[in-house]
């Protein structure tokens, strides 16, 4: 049998069965999208959405690492720990969203806007 020619990365990605790497790619895309959202949005709510994306990107990674089906051998998976951490992150994200929305609301009450570029009171 002829040794297989070196695969092109994208091709490999498509041809190989679904593994942890695929999930990681999805997580990375989510993360990057979140960061881009945080960096570009001037609306505070948009920034909060970006944060949610970043956190969920991380959550995808945790869950992927935890899955016994995706691991090459079961011994190297995070097991239930990964899912537990993901749950924690969701919880914290909820709390954080509540606090952040409250801050945003207050900011709106005081400044009649939710533009984060106008929130520069802490400027040194």
């Amino acid at each position: 049998m002829m040794p297989a020619p070196p695969p092109v990365l994208l091709a490999l990605f498509v041809t190989e069965p679904v593994s942890v790497a695929h999930y990681l790619v999805v997580g990375a895309i989510l993360f990057t999208a979140g960061v881009a959202c945080m960096a570009t949005k001037r609306n505070a709510l948009g920034v909060l959405m970006g944060i949610e994306l970043v956190l969920n990107g991380a959550n995808v990674n945790f869950v992927a690492f935890a899955s016994p089906y995706l691991a090459a051998d079961g011994a190297r998976s995070l097991g239930l720990d990964g899912q537990a951490i993901a749950l924690f992150v969701i919880l914290l994200a909820a709390a954080e969203a509540a606090v952040a929305l409250a801050i945003t609301l207050n900011f709106y009450n005081n400044h009649a806007t939710v533009d984060v570029d106008r929130a520069d009171d802490l400027k040194g």
Binding site: V35, M38, A39, V47, D117, D120, L122, K123, G124
Partner: protein, 842 residues
């Protein structure tokens, strides 16, 4: 009732009441009425209470020890008094709680070994036993007890104590009443015309009314403390208290330079005498280990009584028939080296050495060991009395003490301060050896002569009286010195009355004339008759006026007994006849200067019309004491038909063994004979003395009248004829100048030298050190400011500048922060993955 319990209680309360008044005025004086007006009432109430208590004690005393007239002969009539003593002694035993001490009259019962028969007192006279004075002694409170030293507050009460209490409180009462009128100027703000301030104005100060009465109360308390004291240590404590009180009162107008100087002079001169007194105290205590006058009885736990002999029975033990002998303690102290040898020989058996020492004591005593110690003790105590009683050579303070308010002068000159010295010589009389007595007699003679001559030419009315006091104190000392115990103390009592009278009269005159100078007075009898005639009574009393052998003023009796005793002494010791002539001459001079004073002040025509116009009789509050004192100045010497009189009362307190006279003395190479006092009552002596006294006094009065009343002889003419003598006397014998050259100037010289060394050497050294320290400190400050502060400031500046730079980072733009975070995180991640690639890849 039991006098042994009553007398200490009554007299103790009489003694402490003025202290209570002092404390009350000290704390609440300024709040007693406006300007402390009521302080006078508090002090007067206290002293009146004292007087009442003293009089009660006097009555109790008379109840227990009836005074009888002495039978001239050999004192046989004391039997009755003795029996009473004995009864009191028996009653004593029931009051053990009082730590009662054997009555001296009861000694025989307390000391069975002393004479061997129990019912001794009734047989005593028959056996020819000497008279023992009735006395009570004991301790109220022990201040300190350790080793041989015991300091206690105790009492020694005999007829002399009771009499002195009555005299002191009585005169003090009169003076308190008088002073409450005399001192009224102090009730409001005072402008003192004798003090000129730097700005040319006179001193203006608030009145010090309560302060005066506060000091007066303390003064009375101190004097009564001396009188009641049961031991010499207590005497010394109150002796010093009297000194400080005199300092307060003489310096009452302390803003006046003359007053503060006089107060200091009185205090310092007294310190000189007190130094001698301390030596005497140390000689007594060091050799004998006790300072208590009377024997003390301590009852042990087994009921056994141990008697500790006091000074009186150590010096005049019953074994010798109360004749003076050098006590064992002084003999062994003088024979210290032999005692040490004996103790070394019997080191193993101390009892043997003690008995051998005891056996050899009589031999040593025969050899004369310890006699000098006896003389030193006596002279030391007398030295204190010289200071207090203003005897030659320490009399210079008393005339200057006139700077105090006149009531103080009256108190100081009669009943308190100066009386203390004579009183102590009297109290201490049994311990004085013949040599000491001779010294006392001569000191008194010199004092009385010098002071009397100075009084002749003095023009200040109070100064004449001051020198007359010094002179009369000389009389008392001389009387004690020639063995006239009763005579000296009798004169102390009578003098207290007439001298306080004279001073209060002079105060009344000064109050009216606002001057002390007799040359500006004259003719005052018309405007102030009460003062004038009471003062005449005082003058007659002091010169000893009387109808010879019939009746006379108080001074007549006391001065006669002094003259008689001096005559008796000079007959026994022909080489000391000069003492008699001093007394007789002194009597003449006294009569002259006293009537010179009276004639110049009250008779003739006014010399200064300004003074005469303003003169007025003093208010009743001042005149009443004058009249009361005048009555006593007349009557103090009288004896009631039953024999009750001052002299007979004093006879009760005569120290044991002094009634018989004394012979001895070794210091001046001759044997002295001190005749018994009752021998001076014998006709030959008594008649001569009385006649002499009468003649000299009369001559003095007549001469004074010739010069100042009838103007037969011109005083100015006499002064011109005897110019050098007059100048010498007017210069007061130049004693102040002499002391100035001898003591004050050298002291000031040494002080100046010391101050020069201090300023030139020590101050310069210290100044140099200070200068160096200052320079070093300057250097230190420079280093601190430049180097240390510079470093600290540079750090602070760097931090500040860094902060300024760093604030630029804080843009406040959220999205930028997010990018920083992301880029930073990614950068960290990349760096970490680069660093740990192998391990991760593996």
């Amino acid at each position: 009732m039991d006098p042994a319990a009553q007398l200490p209680l009554l007299l103790g309360l009489a003694w402490l009441t003025p202290l209570a008044s002092f404390v009350a005025i000290l704390f609440f004086g300024p709040r007693m009425g406006s300007h402390g007006r009521n302080a006078a009432w508090v002090a007067t109430a206290a002293i009146v209470t004292s007087l009442v208590l003293s009089l009660t004690a006097f009555v109790v005393w008379l109840g227990a020890h009836p005074v009888t007239a002495p039978a001239h002969g050999h004192g046989d009539s004391h039997g009755e008094a003795h029996a009473a003593d004995h009864a009191a002694a028996a009653a004593d035993g029931e009051h053990a709680a009082f730590r009662q001490v054997a009555l001296r009259a009861g000694d025989a019962a307390a000391l069975p070994g002393a004479d061997g028969h129990g019912d001794s007192d009734h047989n005593a006279e028959a056996h020819g036993e000497p008279h023992l004075p009735a006395a009570y002694a004991g301790d109220w409170y022990t201040l300190y007890e350790g080793g041989r030293l015991k300091l206690s507050i105790g009492w020694y009460i005999d007829a002399l104590t009771v009499l002195m209490f009555v005299v002191v409180t009585f005169i003090a009462t009169c003076i308190h009443v008088y002073a409450s009128g005399y001192m009224h100027d102090e009730l409001h703000d005072v402008t003192d015309h004798e003090v000129t301030l730097a700005d040319g104005h006179h001193l203006h100060r608030p009145g010090r009314f309560p302060r005066f009465f506060q000091a007066l109360s303390l003064f009375c308390f101190s004097m009564l403390g001396i009188v009641i004291a049961g031991n010499l240590a207590m005497v010394f404590i109150f002796w010093e208290l009297v000194g400080i009180c005199s300092w307060f009162l003489i310096g009452f107008y302390y803003e006046r330079k003359s007053a503060s100087t006089a107060a200091n002079k009185a205090f310092i001169v007294n310190r000189v005498g007190d130094f001698g007194m301390l030596i005497g105290l140390m000689a007594l205590w060091g050799a004998l280990g006790t300072l208590s006058f009377a024997d003390s009885t301590a009852v042990g736990p087994d009921g056994h009584e141990t008697v500790t002999p006091g000074l009186f029975s150590l010096f005049r033990p019953a074994e010798t028939g109360h004749a003076l002998q050098v006590p064992d303690g002084m003999v062994t102290a003088a024979a210290a080296s032999e005692v040490a040898t004996i103790a070394a020989d019997h080191a193993a058996t101390p009892a043997d050495s003690a008995s051998e020492i005891a056996a050899r004591v009589p031999g040593w005593r025969e050899a004369g060991l310890g006699r000098w110690l006896l003389v030193i003790a006596g002279l030391g105590i007398f030295c204190g009395c010289v200071g207090k009683s203003a005897q030659f050579p320490l009399f210079v303070w008393l005339p200057d003490a006139m700077e105090g308010p006149t009531p103080v002068s009256a108190l100081v000159h009669s009943a308190t301060m100066v009386a203390a010295g004579v009183y102590l010589v009297g109290r201490f009389f049994p311990v004085l050896s013949p040599d000491v007595l001779l010294v006392i007699a001569y000191a008194g003679a010199i004092t009385l002569f010098i002071a009397a001559t100075i009084a002749l030419v003095a023009n200040d009315i109070k100064r004449v009286l001051a020198y007359s006091t010094v002179s009369q104190l000389g009389y008392m000392m001389l009387a004690l010195g020639v063995g006239g115990w009763v005579a000296g103390l009798f004169h102390l009592v009578t003098h207290a009355f007439f001298k306080s009278l004279l001073f209060l009269c002079s105060g009344s005159v000064i109050h009216a004339c606002h001057t002390n100078d007799m040359r500006k007075m004259g003719g005052l009898i018309k405007v102030m008759p009460w003062t004038g005639y009471t003062m005449l009574v005082g003058c007659l009393a002091i010169i000893g006026a009387g109808i010879p052998f019939v009746i006379g003023f108080s001074g007549y009796y006391s001065k006669d007994s002094i003259l008689a005793q001096a005559l008796s002494f000079s007959q026994a010791n022909p080489s000391h006849t000069i003492l008699y002539w001093a007394v007789a001459g002194g009597a003449f001079i006294t009569a002259f200067y006293m009537f010179r004073l009276w004639f110049m002040t009250f008779m003739g025509t006014p010399r200064d019309h300004h003074v005469a116009e303003h003169a007025h009789e003093s208010p009743n509050v001042m005149v009443t004491p004058l009249v009361v004192l005048a009555v006593l100045a007349v009557a103090a010497g009288w004896a009631l038909p039953g024999g009750l009189g001052v002299a007979n009362l004093l006879e009760q307190a005569r120290p044991a063994g002094t009634a018989e006279g004394m012979t001895g003395g070794f210091a001046f190479g001759q044997r002295l004979v001190f005749p018994a006092e009752h021998e001076s009552h014998v006709g030959a002596v008594h008649v001569t003395a009385t006649t002499t006294a009468f003649a000299t006094a009369l001559a003095g009065v007549v001469l004074a009248a010739a010069m100042y009343l009838w103007r037969l002889i011109s005083p100015a003419g006499v002064a011109t004829v005897f110019r050098p003598v007059y100048a010498f006397l007017a210069g007061r014998w130049y004693f102040d100048e002499l002391y100035d050259v001898l003591f004050v100037k050298p002291t000031l010289g040494i002080a100046r030298l010391a101050s020069g060394i201090d300023r030139g050497l020590i101050d310069k050294l210290i100044d140099g050190l200070a200068w160096t320290a200052r320079r070093l400190a300057g250097l230190d400050a420079w280093i601190d400011k430049t180097v240390v502060d510079g470093l600290v400031n540079a750090t602070a500046n760097a931090t500040w500048n860094a902060g300024l730079k760093m604030r630029a980072v804080q843009t406040g733009r959220l999205r930028q922060y997010v990018m920083f975070i992301v880029v930073g995180t990614v950068a960290l991640f990349v760096l970490a993955s680069l660093a740990f690639r192998s391990s991760v890849a593996g």
